[in-house]
Every structure is written in structure tokens, then in C-alpha cells.
């Protein structure tokens, strides 16, 4: 029991209303409540946040970096999804 560690938690902070929560790092805590309190002390000592999310690290599923090319290929070949793909004739505005 003595060598049993507290679980690892990933911490996400919303720096101000109107912005997304953003990953800032991780910490160890016995439960979610303690993880939030520790995150407050570790990651927001200078008012960096107005809201905190924590999630146990082992609950996160990530894409495989070695498969990144295949995973994201569909977007690479569809340049027509960007407005810059299209020629806008001179004289046309508000487009």
C-alpha cells in the first residue's frame, strides 16, 4: 500500500470567459476534488485561469503519431475547402 501512487491527472485551464479550456500539464492527486485544488495551486498562481477541468490521464485516448500521415491525408488533398483556392475577379468585393 505504501508504494501505491496517486493517479495521474491531466489539467485543462480556461484562461478567461470566451476561450476554450487548454491543456497545461499534469499532476498527481487522490481524487478529482484534490486534483482541482492542486491544479489551482500548481497552474493558476498568477490568475491564469477562471475554470479548471481535470481528467485521469488513463482515460485519454490519443491518435497514433506514426499513423498521422494516413489519418490526416483526406484534408491535405482537398485544397478547395479553403477560400484561397478560388479566383475572385477584380472589382468584386465583400466576398
Amino acid at each position: 500500500m505504501s508504494q501505491k501512487e496517486w493517479p495521474l491527472w491531466e489539467v485543462f485551464i480556461r484562461s478567461k470567459q470566451g476561450l476554450n479550456h487548454k491543456h497545461v500539464g499534469s499532476l498527481r492527486a487522490a481524487d478529482a476534488e484534490m486534483a482541482i485544488e492542486n491544479a489551482r495551486d500548481v497552474y493558476t498562481r498568477r490568475s491564469e485561469g477562471v475554470s479548471i477541468w481535470v481528467v485521469e490521464s488513463n482515460r485519454i485516448f490519443a491518435s497514433d503519431p506514426t499513423e498521422a500521415d494516413a489519418l490526416f491525408e483526406p484534408a491535405h488533398s482537398k485544397v478547395y475547402r479553403h477560400p484561397t483556392f478560388y479566383d475572385v475577379p477584380d472589382g468584386i468585393s465583400h466576398m
Binding site: E5, W6, G25, L27, R45, P65
Partner: protein
């Protein structure tokens, strides 16, 4: 899963480094790169944590409430820095507790500067000014380190360190410009901390076997001697400004190079402290071990409580 060979992986890794693309935790990386980072980041974390001890020594004896609040905030920041770094080291697959056990067993090192005692209040000024000043010089280039989580942790740390250095300079300059006794305290602190601060940058480049590999991997961006020179060049005029004397009779300005030249660093002292024979090595490690052992029952109780509550919610 397609078959990928080692040469291709190494080439892809090197190509990322060449293009200044950061390496992230799940990316493939050479085993030695991972090992080097685990060693460097965990030792950096230990330095932050052990670094709380010399200053913690003065929290209860700060001369007034303002100084006490500031010092408390500063020491709390050091704890925070240690935690950002342990968080970064865990992204490499290292176990946080194991790295801490390595500190306690003496297998892992930490910055040798924290093995010197803090015998007067002026030492709080000298530490903030010189030790944090040297730490900033070391840490700013690490914000561009090739390993993403380490670089990001360093960005946070560097933002906070500049408060540390300024509060230290405020303490030392207040003393330096105070009564003759106060000035003497400030000078005494500078006398004791100057050389150990210069040693913080590590051995001369010629005697630093890891430097070249770390530079190739873009973990390290400047050499020990380059950073040490930078520190000397900015710090000497600061000492002059507040009327303190750098304790080096050989110190001189070289008009041609535009740099200060210093006397010889006592590397025997450096290696003695690194290998465990500084004034406070045993005391520092003993304090860390005691903190871990004394807090054990609290950590166990918190975990038991969390597990009990989880079981109750499930039923």
C-alpha cells in the same frame, strides 16, 4: 501496423529536429534522447524542490511581513516549478516516484548550489539575484528545447523566475545601500555566493562530455561557457551599481572582446560538492527523505478515502 525500420525512424526524427519541429511525448525518439531528457528534466525538478530548503530556512525569520509574504510566494513557486518538471518527465514514461527515490538514494543529482548554507538574511538577496539570475540564463534557451513538454514547462518557469530575481536584487540592494553593517552583510553574501553561482553553469566546455550530443539534439542551445560569460557580463555592472565588489581580484574588462575576464574557478570545490561533499549535501537529502516519510500516512489516507468514496458511489 506497417513495418518501419530503425533507420527510417531515426531519419524522420532528425528531420524534425532539423526543421525545428518539436518532439512530442508519443513520437518515436532514440532511446538515448529519452534517457538524456529523463535524467536532465528529473534533475532539474529535484533542483527546484531541494532549492526550497535554503530559502525555507528564512521564511519564519524574514525581517518584516512584506518580505515574508514575498519569500513564501517565491518558495511556493519553486515547488510549482518542480511539479511542472515532474509532469514533463512523466510524459517520457518515467515514474515520478522512482525519480524521487533516485534523488533520495543519491543516484540522481541536483544543482550543487543548494548544498551551500544560508547563514544570513542577505543570502536571500544573493540567492534571488545570483542563483535565480544564473538559473534564468540557463533556462531561457531551454524554452526552445526540442522536447515540447520540457520547453513548455520552461516558458512558465522563466515567466516566474524574473520575479524571483527582482525580489532578490531588491533585498541585496536595500542592504548594500543601507547602514555600514547592512552593506557588510550584503558584501559577505556576495563573497560567498559569487563563485558557486558561476559553477552553476557546469564544467568548462572542454570538460563537459554531454554538451555536444545535447546540442545536436537541440536539447541544449548554448554551451556552459557561453552562458556563464553572459551571466558575468550582465551581473558585474549590477554589483558596481549598488557599490558591491565582485570577490575576484583577477576580474577585468576586456575592451577588445567586449567581455569581462575572470580568475580561475575552483573546480575541485565544484566536483567535491557534486559528489556529495558540500557543506549541506547530507542535510538536504535527509530533509527530502523525512518530508516523504512523514507525509506517507497522509497520502495513504487520502487514497483510502478516495477509494472508499468511489466504492460507495458505485454501490
Amino acid at each position: 501496423m506497417k513495418e518501419i525500420n530503425l533507420t527510417e525512424l531515426e531519419a524522420a526524427f532528425q528531420s524534425k529536429l532539423d526543421r525545428e519541429i518539436r518532439i512530442e511525448p508519443n513520437d518515436w525518439m532514440p532511446a538515448d534522447y529519452r534517457k538524456t531528457l529523463i535524467r536532465q528534466i528529473s534533475q532539474h525538478a529535484h533542483s527546484e524542490i531541494v532549492g526550497m530548503l535554503p530559502e525555507g530556512n528564512w521564511i519564519t525569520r524574514a525581517p518584516n511581513l512584506r518580505r515574508k509574504a514575498v519569500l513564501l510566494a517565491k518558495v511556493q513557486d519553486e515547488a510549482g516549478h518542480g511539479l511542472y518538471l515532474y509532469s514533463a518527465v512523466e510524459t517520457l514514461g518515467a515514474d515520478r516516484e522512482e525519480t524521487i527515490d533516485d534523488l533520495h538514494s543519491g543516484k540522481a543529482k541536483y544543482s550543487s548550489i543548494f548544498n551551500y548554507p544560508t547563514v544570513s538574511w542577505a543570502d536571500m538577496g544573493a540567492i534571488g539575484w545570483l542563483v535565480d539570475g544564473a538559473a534564468i540564463m540557463n533556462q531561457v534557451p531551454l524554452c526552445r528545447c526540442s522536447y515540447g513538454p520540457y520547453a513548455r514547462a520552461m516558458v512558465r518557469v522563466c515567466k516566474e523566475e524574473s520575479f524571483h530575481q527582482r525580489q532578490g536584487f531588491e533585498i541585496i540592494s536595500k542592504l548594500a545601500l543601507g547602514t555600514p553593517e547592512q552593506k557588510e552583510m550584503a558584501q559577505d553574501a556576495l563573497n560567498r555566493w559569487w563563485w558557486p553561482a558561476l559553477m552553476m553553469f557546469g564544467p568548462n566546455d572542454a570538460d563537459s562530455p554531454h554538451t555536444q550530443q545535447s546540442m545536436n539534439w537541440k536539447i541544449k542551445r548554448s554551451t556552459n561557457d557561453e552562458l556563464r560569460q553572459l551571466f558575468i557580463d550582465v551581473t558585474v555592472p549590477q554589483a558596481e551599481l549598488i557599490g558591491l565588489t565582485i570577490p575576484d581580484p583577477d576580474l577585468k574588462w576586456n575592451q577588445e572582446t567586449g567581455h569581462y575576464e575572470i580568475g580561475t574557478i575552483n573546480w575541485d570545490e565544484f566536483w567535491a560538492v557534486v559528489s556529495g561533499n558540500g557543506p549541506c549535501n547530507r542535510e538536504r537529502v535527509a530533509a527530502r527523505k523525512k518530508a516523504k516519510e512523514d507525509g506517507m500516512w497522509v497520502r495513504e489516507a487520502a487514497l483510502a478515502h478516495a477509494e472508499k468514496r468511489k466504492a460507495r458511489q458505485a454501490s
